[in-house]
Subunit: 220 residues, 2 copies
DNA sequence: GCTATTTTTTAAGAATTGCTTAATATTTTA
DNA sequence: TAAAATATTAAGCAATTCTTAAAAAATAGC
């Protein structure tokens, strides 16, 4: 789990980083709002911790900017601005939680955990007769194991997690390949082909359909 | 959106119920932990508000019990137990937020809204008996799927998004085809024809009308 | 630390699908 | 009724996707 900390006071960053790394998180930090924004666009973070008062761009502006592009990554404010009005303003900007300084580190950790709780809940995904066992990293078709490589597994899992929704090629490149710039390539096609072959799916009638000009969609 | 309030002080229940109903929520309340548990199992609530000190079963026990069966419904504690230890205990029991009394009603509302934010992401447009499911990229006429190509889908969606307004040929070429110079062609006609055929629309009386000399208009 | 193996990516031709044009038919309006 | 606008159809062309093979990169074994 990768957390972005945007905070200008080095002492607080150090304290948070050390504590959260001990909890098993990977930390990246930015010392001003602009750097924070750039980082948030370049990488996929699982959660973002935000101070309010920041150089170059306030936490509030940063929060709103992030939300324009991405509505799902949890954002937690961690700030000395402690009035009810400010809290409400922060939440309205799209934050998921608002913690006032001084705060308890243990409470922060608990409040972070909330957002990761239901993530590995779906440990076994299904798509028709296909079972994806995430902890065991295995894929079964009609109870018979099929060996997939890492990327194949990730792509399939991504499609199944978004079952019923079209996944665009851009989204797939962003979320599965973690590439955040225009990238014209045929990798997706190659991997889709490999998955279909290994899982023995026919293009026309089967679980993963091509949506021409857009991407792919999984459906039982 | 249906909210369950489990709280024994009638005054608080009344205050919450009235305020939240004004916000457009449907409220059901229980005055002790046991009733709260039974209700939570009988009905599907979208969110649960929980006091800690309750007759028959404490909020903490109730929270844990609910979580044994259901991990997704958001639970918010609303309690006078205000120490860090208690907060952590509440969150560890599976709650999604922990608000201390006395609290600001406006902040409570904002914190409730957080949990409903990403719900109306699934955009479904309608035009009479036609449904356009954007995330699924599907079009249904009387619940029967009709296969449209990408351009057909975009054109139809554009017209339906501008339901009730005339879309001029120039606007359509600009917004759907992304062509920003004078362009004299019959493409639009060809696609309108294809859409009408596939959706089985009659020209004269149906949902998409031709506005001679201008463009087209959609209306239920 | 080098080699063998597996996995990922690139690239290129084949197949498919859908877009556009153009030619013709029909409808509307003056 | 003639002229203009829209509807309809079919065919060539363009773009996307599929498939395969081989190169590049990463991983594992010795």
């Amino acid at each position: 789990m990768h957390i972005l900390i945007v905070e200008d006071e080095a002492g607080i960053v150090q304290f948070l980083q050390q504590g959260l790394e001990e909890e098993g998180y990977t930390i990246t930090s930015a010392s001003d709002g602009l750097k924070g924004f750039e980082l948030s666009q370049k990488e996929n973070f699982d959660l973002i911790l935000l101070d309010w008062m920041l150089p170059k761009m306030t936490g509030l502006e940063l929060c709103k900017s992030i939300r324009l592009k991405n509505t799902s990554t949890p954002i937690i404010f961690l700030t000395a601005k402690d009035t009810v009005q400010e809290t409400i303003e922060g939440l309205k900007a799209g934050a998921n939680d608002y913690i006032k300084k001084p705060f308890s580190f243990d409470e922060l950790v608990e409040r972070i955990k909330i957002h990761f709780r239901n993530q590995n809940e779906d440990e076994i995904l299904t798509l028709g007769s296909i079972k994806i066992d995430i902890p065991q990293h295995r894929v079964l078709v009609n109870e018979i194991e099929v060996a997939l490589t890492q990327r194949e597994f990730e792509l399939l899992t991504y499609l199944v997690k978004n079952k019923g929704k079209v996944c665009t090629r851009t989204q797939i490149i962003e979320d599965v390949w973690d590439i955040h710039f225009e990238y014209d390539t045929g990798v997706i096609d190659v991997f889709m082909n490999a998955i279909r072959k290994k899982l023995n799916l026919k293009i026309e009638q089967d679980y993963i359909k091509t949506v021409r000009g857009v991407g792919y969609i999984a459906n039982d």
